[in-house]
Amino acid sequence: MTDSKQNEYLLEMTGVDKSFPGVKALDQVNLKVRPHSIHALMGENGAGKSTLLKCLFGIYSKDAGDIRFLGKPVDFQSSKQALEAGVSMVHQELNQVKQRTVMDNIWLGRYPLKGLFVDHDKMYHDTKAVFDELDIDIDPKTKVESLSVSQMQMVEIAKAFSYNAKIVIMDEPTSSLTEKEVNHLFTIIRKLKERGCGIVYISHKMDEIFAICDEITILRDGQWVNTQPLEGLDMDQIIAMMVGRELTQRFPEKTNVPKETILEVNNLTALNQPSIQDINFELRKGEVLGIAGLVGAKRTDIVEALFGIRQRSEGSIKLHGKEVANKDAHEAIRNGFALVTEERRATGIYANLDITFNSLVANVESYREKSGLLSNKRMKSDTQWVIDSMSVKTPSHSTNIGSLSGGNQQKVIIGRWLLTGPEVLMLDEPTRGIDVGAKYEIYQLILELAKKDRGVIIISSEMPELLGITDRILVMSNGKVAGIVDTKETTQNEILNLASRYL
């Protein structure tokens, strides 16, 4: 038994520093979590929340700082070690073996034995006991793949609980849950709290923070801003602490002028639900349209459906008043659409191939000569064009793109799509994981394109970014359009309110 006076905090992280080449990701960051409390960890994307947690779990090694758990200094080398000590994390992307049963997943890595064999009865009963305690109604013998996302999440929480976790970290746990599921999740979280756990709750949803959290720590640009009880704070104060700087300097001057409509989208609905339903909007020439929404609001699904890589059940897409089918990406490209995808590593770059290949891959058909072979001359000049006009910093055309920085990779990819001569350029989180300087250059590029009468759609989770460079913002909530607002007249608050409209 620990003396409560001796250990005011379950987990104390003080003065944590972490640098990556060229970036100071964490600068003297503190996080102190008490028992019997739910602690909100807030900050914009890139503020250092996940870096801090990665330092805790030993995924990154911290440069400086002190981590104490239950009063003793700790230095976990892996998430397994942390888990066994009593610090567990419920990930946004769930790490589960979907093909196996619920109880197989909960006891993976520490199956109970009876002699030589796994004790299935004990596994079943222990799982049941944990589920009963947390009010979770799932048969331990069902396969994980047949569960809903919220049930999978509950299984993860139960797993953390079964490790006797003292600290449970939840990273945007409600991002894909319905309101009812969120309420159930909250009941479970409160149960954990009653049992003396400290919960670190990461979310962008203000109403949730106010609903369940006791304390709040705010990070901004890798720095610790404040830790205080939530009582007495209001939403605007929190946002002010999170943003905390002039927005104007971070963005180039907006000189683009929206003109006539080029793209009309009506009743766009995806075939495989849950996804987008009944999406209507139009995009004008020279306009930058932002798409805002919480994680899980299905923003990406809109551009995927437009680009032909997500099946539609209904809806029409009209370009210049003429209906286009966009049945697959190839057709969409020919119709003048371009999509810079969200997962740069997974669906953007060919990391092991050179700048030339990465620049030309979407446009390769246009270099074919009469002979059927590709024209080296034109390929070379187009690659140079990408490097020059995007100001890509690279030693040569034959450098592997994987060796460039994230910002330069992104510029090559944007250049790739510009080579296809798109009328509608869609960018999904184009500045994620990119440092501030490169972000500015990408904003410049986007606004330049708008000035050249292209229509630009940009999805972003960074509110200041949307407010800084768009003309209008379409706010998604739970697969539906909650509203389209004029950027000049809106506020962060209005957008956040719209974003939770259909939750």
Partner: protein
């Protein structure tokens, strides 16, 4: 997850039909083939044929059980057939009859059968271990790793085969022939010893897969290697063990195959790995990893043996048999990948 909200009735009907096709399509095709065979030649349905099919399936089941565990971990094993060949030649050369004038080791006395089993299984374990090291520690994809060892093992086997005279090794010790060719008679029905060995292997593997930590770990590794790792499963060691175990199964299978045929050359076992992999896949062991059952593997082998035996029985040309078998494999895997495809 199936969420059919907001879809049109026609689509719904279509997707239900598609689902049944995915689940049961392969069995439908096989039943049709079986029906064709029986209609052509009603005498196919006899105890004698059943006994032959079981006997022919036995060694294949043992080899397929070896490779199945590897497929579950997202692996594969091209060296299986050549390992069978090596074990066959080694065991044949060690178990020749003492009064055989062509005995390759004239001075060798009568070795106990169990001793030879241990020898060939140890050889298999070592080769499997090498495969495992290449896959788990040198991070070579299983296809390439075992492609390499497949060729190496054939080379080793051929060198050995050359050194003992380069002619088929036959004239076995009667105990060995009895061990591999003997049977129990129930009236007209013969149940060969091979079938019992296969049943033993099935029970062993079933327990291993379903009742032990090791078995659960191979499924976890195959289903989501990252999840297995963060939950504290020692992934490389588990891979080493499963590869070594597969070698043991090939070794035992190779010895039985030599005894069953009555002679062995360095070419025995050629392409056996493909039959074994095909049987696993048709039996529902997914190349995507993490999915499979012993019952599926056994069913897969039985299906292929029945088709093989049945088509030969009604006189289908072996060339046509290749075409049909190949089509079945593709059909089965296409259904499998449709089941697991992520729909956008």
């Amino acid at each position: 997850m199936d969420n059919t909200n907001n879809t049109k009735p026609g689509l719904q009907l279509g997707s239900v039909g598609l689902r049944y096709l995915k689940e049961g399509g392969i069995y439908a095709v096989l039943f049709i083939l079986l029906a064709v065979i029986i209609i052509q030649e009603p005498s196919f349905l006899s105890l004698r044929n059943l006994s032959n099919i079981l006997t022919q399936s036995s060694v294949r089941i043992i080899i397929a059980l070896g490779v199945a565990g590897l497929i579950v971990t997202q692996g594969t094993d091209l060296s299986a057939g050549r390992q069978v060949g090596l074990a066959a030649v080694v065991s044949a050369s060690l178990l020749q009859s003492v009064d055989n004038v062509n005995k390759v080791f004239p001075d060798l006395g009568e070795l106990p059968i169990i001793g030879v089993i241990i020898i060939v299984c140890s050889i298999g374990a070592v080769i499997g271990l090498i495969n495992g090291i290449i896959v788990a520690y040198l991070k070579v994809t299983p296809f390439i790793a075992t492609l390499g060892t497949m060729i190496i093992v054939y080379g080793v086997n051929s060198l050995y085969f050359d050194s003992i005279g380069a002619s088929p090794v036959a004239g076995f010790d009667p105990r060995f022939s009895e061990f591999a060719q003997g049977f129990l008679r129930f009236g007209t029905f013969r149940l060969s010893y091979l079938t019992f060995y296969a049943i033993g292997a099935i029970i062993f593997m079933w327990i291993l897969w379903n009742k032990t930590v090791f078995g659960k770990n191979i499924f976890a590794i195959g289903g989501n290697p990252e999840a297995a790792k963060v939950s504290g499963v020692n992934v490389p060691v588990t891979l080493l063990k499963i590869y070594a175990l597969s070698g043991v199964f090939y070794g035992f299978g190779g010895m039985l195959e030599a005894g069953r045929i009555g002679s062995a050359t360095n070419n025995l076992g050629f392409m056996y790995e493909l039959d074994a992999i095909a049987a696993c896949v048709v039996g529902g062991v997914s190349f995507a990893g993490g999915v499979g059952s012993i019952a599926g593997v056994v069913t897969g082998v039985l299906i292929f043996t029945v088709i093989n035996y049945g088509m030969t029985y009604i006189g289908v040309s072996p060339y046509w048999q290749y075409i049909i078998k190949g089509s079945i494999i593709i059909f089965a895997v296409a259904l499998d990948s449709m089941k697991y495809a992520d729909k956008k």
